[in-house]
């Protein structure tokens, strides 16, 4: 994919961390967040602080993340509903009796879900899609995965190109592409779009084979990642994991 949907080009230290390091760090960080006991409010504060620090190093504004985080909206709904539908002892919040357990569960989803989305967005904002696949390739993702993912990213361009061509062809012939119209036409045309893209995709696949493609990107041997870069790239995850360890320590 030439321009990732969420990728923000940049040359910050965060952008430059090798993708395999970033992937592992992101997974470790989210796992640390999820494993943190929900009553350890302070730990989530530390996690958020770590995420903010990474953003400032990456040079991506907070507002950008805030707008993208709405993908999580359905879960906010769940978090809001839980206090009302859960069982167990009740507490009063603003004069309304809600389930104490539900309240905590709601908070849990809200805090962990939000942090999870923010961490994943950080990864997406600072890593090119194809580097993500390269990172997975270096982390020994199975061959089938790398093959499908590589073709998938290539084909997203093909599909976008087909959509653009179809749209231009329609406008030039007097169609009025208002958004709703377009959504309807796209829904109806999904099968056609699929076919057009597939036939082009077949040719693209042939062209790749013709140049000796063997299912993965010819990345060459990965430049060895020094211990220092692993530590630097992994440090945010390390802080989050420490917060988890302290919070989860049986006292």
């Amino acid at each position: 994919m030439s321009g990732g949907v969420l990728y923000r080009p940049g040359d910050s230290p965060v952008h430059r961390i090798p993708p395999q390091v970033k992937l592992l760090a992101a997974f470790a960080a989210v796992l640390g967040v999820v494993a943190t006991p929900r009553e350890a409010f302070w730990a989530f504060g530390i996690d958020l602080f770590v995420v903010l620090a990474v953003w400032s190093v990456a040079g991506v504004p907070v507002g950008w993340f805030a707008r993208r985080a709405v993908i999580e909206a359905p879960f906010v709904l769940l978090a809001v509903v839980l206090p009302f539908v859960s069982g167990g002892p009740r507490v009063d919040v603003l004069g309304v009796a809600v389930s104490q357990d539900g309240l905590l569960a709601g908070w849990n989803i809200l805090a962990k879900g939000t942090l999870g989305v923010l961490i994943a967005l950080t990864l997406a904002a600072t890593t090119q899609p194809r580097d993500l696949v390269l990172g997975l390739q270096r982390l020994r993702a199975p061959a089938w995965f790398v093959t499908i993912a590589t073709l998938m990213l290539r084909y997203v361009d093909v599909i976008a190109g087909e959509l653009r061509r179809t749209r231009i062809a329609r406008i030039s012939r007097g169609d009025d592409p208002r958004f709703l119209w377009q959504a309807g036409a796209v829904a109806r045309g999904a099968g056609t779009l699929f076919l057009r893209s597939y036939e082009r995709g077949e040719r693209v696949h042939r062209a790749m084979l013709a140049r000796g493609w063997a299912g993965h990107m010819p990345a060459g041997p990965a430049a060895p990642v020094g211990a220092l870069r692993w530590v630097a790239g992994g440090s945010p995850a390390l802080v989050i994991a420490t917060a988890w360890a302290v919070a989860a320590w049986p006292v």
């Binding site: 989210v30 796992l31 999820v34 359905p74 989803i109 999870g116 073709l151 084979l209």
Partner: protein
């Protein structure tokens, strides 16, 4: 269609051990799928799986409202099963789920195992089972095939959401009444599944007319008659 609560689970809905458990379930299932459904670089399955993955990914950018608070996009479990068969279909969908989580933050990273189990594995397996059971109807006529595609889309969506109910029962973070939860989740997804079924049927209908050879379910000598019908 997804983007509802029960699919693309976010982090924090399931506890850590359940997340890891379903990660293991997904990995084991995918290992079997990879052994049974070969992806050969030189073969047609590779571009078809790659294109379907890209297509589902692109369709996600075209969200449309289903119910207030629930927007939908083609999720594709049944479509993948019908086009690629249950094994390669599962591989294809799992790539979509992983890439969506990494590029769009859609679905939590720790919930990847659960999300793959629901959408990539349960959804395609159930979608294929339905299509297989009704294969006689699918081969009888074009309308029959579309009806089967619709049904497979509908049932696979409900099955994927039922997977969520099971996971929540094992590792959910609040004690809500499971019966109530199941009722709501499955009820909502029955509605969402209608949309999924319609789009699946439309897509399969368009494809079978021009390239019946691309459809795993009917990739036999009977395809020619089907096109003629």
């Amino acid at each position: 269609m997804t983007a509802s609560v029960a699919m693309h689970l976010s982090d924090g809905v399931l506890d850590a051990s359940t997340s890891v458990l379903f990660g293991a379930v997904a990995v084991a299932w995918l290992a079997v799928a990879a052994a049974r459904g070969r992806i050969d670089v030189d073969d047609r399955t590779a571009p078809l799986a790659g294109l379907l993955a890209a297509f589902l990914f692109a369709m996600q950018l075209l969200n449309f409202p289903v119910l207030p608070g629930v927007s939908g996009h083609l999720y594709g479990g049944a479509l993948a099963a019908i086009l690629l068969g249950p094994w390669v279909g599962a591989l294809c969908l799992s790539v979509v789920v992983v890439i969506q989580a990494l590029l769009f933050a859609d679905g939590g990273l720790t919930a990847l195992g659960a999300n793959m189990t629901n959408m990539a594995l349960l959804g395609t397996a159930v979608g294929f089972a339905v299509a297989l059971a009704a294969r006689g109807l699918a081969r009888r006529s074009r309308a029959g095939l579309l009806a089967v595609a619709f049904l497979a889309g509908l049932v696979s969506t409900v099955a994927a959401s039922a997977g969520f109910v099971v996971e929540y029962a094992i590792g959910g973070q609040a004690d809500v009444s499971l019966g109530g939860l199941a009722g709501v989740v499955i009820g909502v997804h029955a509605v969402i599944g209608i949309g999924e079924g319609v789009i699946t049927a439309l897509a399969v209908g368009a494809i079978v007319r021009v390239r019946p050879d691309l459809i795993y379910l009917v990739r036999t000598s009977e395809t020619r008659e089907l096109v003629a019908a």
